[in-house]
């Protein structure tokens, strides 16, 4: 495809002597500026705060304390407890989303009446506001008059009554909300699997499980891994659902960070915790991406 390398001599840009490079930069510059102001600068600024004793509420200058914040956080059993709860939440909710989402995609990967409508309806949960979802699931889980207990015959079972139950209940809500995302990516992968492979497998009398293991899964794996990466990153940062549903009794690391930064105003320590979380998420994502590249190479 021919790339435009010269300007129309009659254009105003040409009249002002703007090169293609200048025009390209002019278009990109606002976005770069936005990224620098709202992403890069806060990243670097907060990194600086993470090495200081500083409270935004106290109008005192930040005092450099080196790695003390990191040391105190990493030796605080409470913080490790938050990470443990977050890990449990990630495993439960992401695991559930992958199973339910992929299962739904397998079911939808065929022609049937009103397929479009059904697919759209199934995608509705992920279009809702997380705060709204949290609030109405909190009502659904109510032990005295919530429909969940009524439908499942659980009497007055307290879904949000203690941290363990609340963790499971919140994870279930997350699964309900984000399985459609996994379903969507899986469906894209499934629809890209060449039909002749299934036909060849059918001719060779391959069973459903063999076909699934040897044809479907390997070819859909890259997209499943992408879904896994995105959902793991999101679940690790989970704040809205645990906060709204259990008012912080499911104390994920994001909730601890919120309390530290915006209620305790312990800006220095909160910045350090934020960086610890960032490093953990980066490490996990790196592992996933390496595995994804291996899968793509096969």
């Amino acid at each position: 495809m021919a790339v435009l390398t010269t300007l129309d001599p009659r254009s105003r840009a040409a009249a002002r002597g703007w090169s293609d490079l200048t025009i390209r930069n002019a278009f990109i510059l606002p976005t770069i500026a936005f990224l620098v102001i709202f992403n890069i600068f806060p990243l670097v600024y907060s990194l600086g705060f993470s090495f200081t004793e500083y409270r935004a509420s106290l109008n005192r200058p930040a005092e450099f304390v080196g790695l003390r914040n990191y040391y105190e956080l990493l030796s605080d059993p409470g913080v490790w407890s938050n990470f443990t709860i977050t890990a449990q939440y990630v495993i439960l909710s992401v695991g559930g989303q992958m199973i339910v989402g992929f299962g739904l995609a397998l079911l939808l990967n065929r022609e049937f009446p009103f397929k479009g409508l059904v697919t759209t309806l199934l995608m509705l949960p992920m279009m809702l506001s997380p705060a709204v979802v949290g609030l109405f699931w909190k009502l659904l889980y109510d032990p005295s008059w919530g429909p969940v207990n009524y439908a499942l015959g659980l009497g007055k079972f307290e879904w949000l009554g203690n941290p363990t139950n609340a963790l499971i209940a919140t994870a279930l809500t997350d699964i309900w909300m984000w399985s459609p995302f996994v379903m969507l990516l899986s469906l894209a992968g499934l629809s890209a699997v060449p039909k002749h492979l299934y036909e060849a497998a059918a001719i060779d009398r391959a069973g459903w499980w063999y076909t699934f293991r040897r044809i479907t899964l390997p070819l859909v794996a890259p997209l499943l891994l992408i879904a896994l990466i995105f959902r793991t990153m999101e679940a690790f940062k989970a704040f809205d659902l645990p906060f709204v549903m259990s008012t912080a009794s499911v104390e994920t690391v994001a909730i601890r960070l919120y309390q530290m930064a915006f209620q305790g105003w312990d800006t220095g320590r909160a910045s350090a915790l934020a960086y610890i979380v960032l490093l953990v998420v980066l490490a996990i994502t790196n592992i996933y991406v390496k595995y994804l590249n291996k899968v793509k190479e096969r």
């Binding site: 109008n59 007055k156 009794s249 104390e251």
Partner: protein
């Protein structure tokens, strides 16, 4: 074209210049979203009528109030001219330079003589200076179902089981007995609704009230010492008593604050409701409480050693240092402390801190809960007001909530761990 543009720009300039003087005739007060804020908005309309200055009371839910206020103060924002802040904020807000020193105002206008001393001590005073004018006096109290208590069958059954007459509890043992007596899950009846929410200070207020009532303390506020005080034997007993009371709450009562407690009461779930007096007007109103005629009120009962305390609630109104309308804000405060305004404030439902109004027969008889409120204001005690109060609150929530709501660990373990954390936090501050 150029002339037209100049004309339009000049017009805009004159409009803005002319309008500038109107902008300074507005005051914004920031408070939490609850009924007293609505009463205040009604009250300040009188100020508008007298002076022409528009006063708006902006609100936000309690769970967000501290976060939003300090976000604005830390940014040195001028969105608000006055804030009706919690007493615990005095340390952080004064140390941070966010509040205007009102010491001269208080003494020059005789507020230190006309307002109840306890309210000035807890709502206004920090390190020898006054930082607010007490606006809403409040304390933690109890509402109860008079019809349940006065039912002859219930009374006979209670006497047979506990050996004394059923009535307003005279001490904490009776409170626990009555809560146990009325807990009948098969009939969807429970003894008490308690504070357990950990988003801010709800659970801490409920627990501290019990600790104070046992004769205990949260620490030596003056010297910031905690070890041996917070985890004392009587505090351990007090915490065990709160845990015992929790076992008589409705199911899923792990994150309850004023709204949930009032709802449990109006729905006929509980015999007794722990709540701040500021929330009792809703219980006295038949439109919002079908049991209003059968609702009685009492102050927090004494503990086993005769100590009697109520957790302090309420707030003072402070002038924000970054406000561009400080002069007008001071004039507003001068209007607010007038006796006639305090009287109207009380009539509307606000809890005045004016000694004259609070002690008048008119006030005491105005509502079924005012006597209990007046009694409670004499026995109030507060949480830490140091700059790191929020850290102390969240550490308390983290340590005590699992024990109270699930029985995890023991009261001693929870308080020992909390004492250690508080010592570390206070020593760093």
């Amino acid at each position: 074209m150029r002339k037209k543009l100049t004309g339009i720009l000049a017009g805009i300039g004159f409009t803005l210049a002319g309008g500038t003087s109107a902008f300074s005739q507005e005051l914004t007060i920031f408070w939490a979203e609850w009924d007293p804020a609505n009463y205040l908005q009604e009250l300040v309309n009188d100020y508008t009528a007298e002076t022409g200055v528009t006063v708006t009371v902006e609100t936000t839910p309690w769970g967000d109030f501290q976060t939003k206020t300090f976000a604005e103060l830390n940014a040195k924002g001028d969105a608000y001219d006055l804030v009706v802040g919690d007493s615990q904020w005095l340390g952080a807000a004064s140390t941070g330079g966010h509040y205007v020193d009102l010491s001269k105002f208080i003494t020059d206008n005789g507020v230190d003589k006309s307002f109840v001393p306890a309210t000035l001590q807890y709502y206004s005073l920090y390190e020898g200076k006054y930082w607010s004018v007490p606006l809403e006096g409040d304390a933690n109290g109890w509402a109860y179902r008079k019809d349940w208590f006065e039912n002859p069958e219930e009374m006979a059954a209670f006497k047979a089981k506990y050996g004394y007459d059923l009535g307003v509890p005279k001490n904490y043992k009776e409170l626990i007995d009555i809560a146990e007596f009325f807990t009948r899950p098969d009939k969807n009846m429970y003894g008490v609704a308690l504070y357990t929410q950990t988003a801010y200070d709800a659970m801490a207020m409920g627990v501290e009230q019990t600790i104070f009532t046992w004769g205990g303390d949260l620490g030596d506020y003056a010297n910031k010492k905690v070890e041996g005080i917070l985890n004392s034997a009587q505090n351990v007993e007090a915490l065990e008593a709160y845990r015992k009371l929790y076992t008589f709450t409705p199911p899923n009562w792990t994150q309850a604050f004023f709204a949930e407690n009032n709802q449990a009461f109006t729905e006929g779930l509980v015999a007794m409701n722990m709540n701040y007096f500021a929330f009792f007007p809703a219980l006295a109103n038949e439109a919002s409480n079908p049991h209003a005629k059968n609702t009685g009120y009492f102050a927090n009962p004494p503990g086993p050693n005769g100590n009697q305390h109520a957790a302090l609630g309420g707030q003072g109104i402070s002038v924000i240092s970054y406000s561009k309308n400080q002069e007008e804000a001071m004039k507003f405060l001068q209007w607010f402390i007038r006796d006639d305004v305090q009287k109207k404030w009380a009539e509307l439902g606000g809890y005045t801190c004016s000694a004259a109004v609070l002690g008048s027969d008119e006030f005491l008889n105005a509502t079924p809960y005012n006597r209990a409120f007046a009694d409670s204001m004499k026995i109030v005690k507060d949480f830490w007001a140091v700059p790191v109060f929020a850290d102390l609150l969240f550490q308390m929530n983290d340590r005590l909530h699992p024990y109270i709501t699930t029985g995890q660990g023991t009261a001693k373990e929870a308080l020992d761990a909390l004492a250690k954390e508080w010592e570390a936090t206070l020593s760093k501050s």
